[in-house]
């Protein structure tokens, strides 16, 4: 089995913080912790290449580095990628996670190891098996044992047990398994246990959403630029960018006037797969209230109606994805001097 190992400049034995800007390089051998990984995995697995990159270089040149990693994964025909372990090193953890994501997108399994508070865990845990490690490298041996335990199972084609049993961070994957008792029985057991004040373990953690400090109010509405956008999937007719009807992976920016049939028309097409599109198809202003905004702009209620809108489909969309869309859209709007946004959801 062929393994590619990712390390930062420190564990890759190039140097410490002074080498954090060291560009990516590939060595066709095991380096540093990789040697112990090879020893632990035994004769069946071999590290065919070690990718080493400075932490700062990685995080400041993600596109270039991403391409180089993709090329290396292809060139060395990896069966498995191992990244780190990164313990509680933030930049290194993020790099390890990003490498796992690249492998994931190429259909290659990935294993890493991090301390639970490493930001790389929250950002990338769904793309690979990230073993839970201590927060520092004094526990390198244990971390490598955890990583190799997972790696051995993956390489031998075994299905991994739950995150809790195997000691990795939950990936949010759902898999069909056979169990004795059906869902209603299991749910009732849990409920009864809860009522009795006994311990029970949920089969599906509910997401915990963050709270955000409210933005300050707009002081001078008469000179404010206002935008309107929607998660209701009202796209220009024909859905030119092929937004997905559920689990949408993108958002798009359109000129309200050019893409929706003229000023204040909001004539589009609902591609959201989770509600009846009839009303929005008949009059898009029910989703994107452009007609009223044009009117209120003319009346001087606010300064300027931003001439573009952003559209996505909020139907089964992962919250992490949606949050990422939101961050990017907010940045673009700030650059364009937009003061306030009306976001409609269906």
């Amino acid at each position: 089995m062929r393994i590619i190992h990712y390390l930062n400049q420190f564990y890759g034995q190039i140097g410490g913080e002074s080498e954090a800007y060291c560009p990516l390089q590939v060595k066709e051998e095991a380096v540093g912790p990789g040697k112990r990984i090879e020893a632990m995995l035994g004769d069946d697995a071999r590290i065919v290449a070690t990718i080493i990159c400075g932490d700062n270089y990685f995080n400041e040149n993600t596109e270039t580095v991403g391409r180089q990693i993709e090329e290396a994964l292809k060139k060395y025909d990896a069966d498995l990628l191992i990244a780190g372990p990164a313990f509680n090193a933030g930049r290194y953890g993020i790099a390890c996670g990003a490498v796992c994501k690249i492998a994931y997108e190429m259909g290659i399994e990935a294993v890493s190891g991090m301390y639970r508070e490493n930001p790389g865990v929250e950002m990338y845990r769904r793309y690979g098996y990230i073993a839970s490690t201590a927060n520092n490298a004094r526990r390198m041996k244990e971390a490598l044992e955890s990583i190799c335990g997972l790696a051995k199972k993956i390489l031998s084609g075994q299905t991994l047990a739950t995150a809790e049993e195997e000691g990795y961070f939950e990936r949010g994957l759902r898999r069909n398994v056979y169990v004795e008792r059906n869902a209603a029985q299991r749910a009732t057991d849990m409920l009864l246990a809860k009522i009795k004040g006994e311990a029970f373990v949920t089969e599906r953690e509910m997401p915990v959403f963050k709270k955000f400090a409210p933005s300050p109010a707009i002081k001078d509405m008469k000179h404010a630029t206002i935008a309107v956008m929607t998660s209701g999937g009202l796209v220009p007719k024909g859905n030119p960018d092929r937004l997905e009807t559920c689990n949408c992976t993108k958002y798009k920016k359109y000129s309200l006037e050019e893409a929706y049939g003229g000023k204040g028309a909001a004539a589009g097409q609902v591609v959201h797969g989770g509600y009846d599109p009839v009303y929005g198809n008949a009059d898009g202003n029910r989703i994107l209230p452009a007609d009223v905004l044009v009117k209120l702009e003319e009346e001087g209620v606010f300064g300027k109606f931003y001439d573009h809108t952003y559209v996505t489909v909020g139907n089964g969309t992962e919250v992490d994805h949606a949050a990422e869309f939101g961050d990017r859209i907010a940045e673009e709007l700030k650059e364009d001097g937009v003061d306030g946004v009306l976001l409609t959801s269906t």
């Binding site: 009303y279 989703i287 009306l342 959801s345």
Partner: protein, 74 residues
């Protein structure tokens, strides 16, 4: 700010300024009333949304739209 019919979802995902929409498939309109009436409803919702943006808040707040009936289609 967020115009959303199911305001508890809006609260859960962390929106701070919330204005209730009319109904899930038509948050900013109502196909069951006359065109003129619908425009009035939409204007009320949008004016409330703008007012929400002008209002200083310290916690998540739902800004009710005056005299607009909701969930007519549910």
């Amino acid at each position: 700010m967020h115009i959303c019919t199911v305001t508890p979802i809006s609260m859960t995902v962390g929106a701070n300024r919330i204005v209730p929409g009319v109904s899930i498939p038509h948050p900013a309109g109502n196909p069951h009333v006359s065109r003129e009436e619908e425009l009035k409803i939409r204007e009320k919702i949008v004016r409330t949304a703008l007012k929400a943006l002008e209002t200083e808040i310290t916690e998540q707040t739902v800004f009710e739209v005056e005299s607009v009936r909701r969930y007519e289609n549910e």
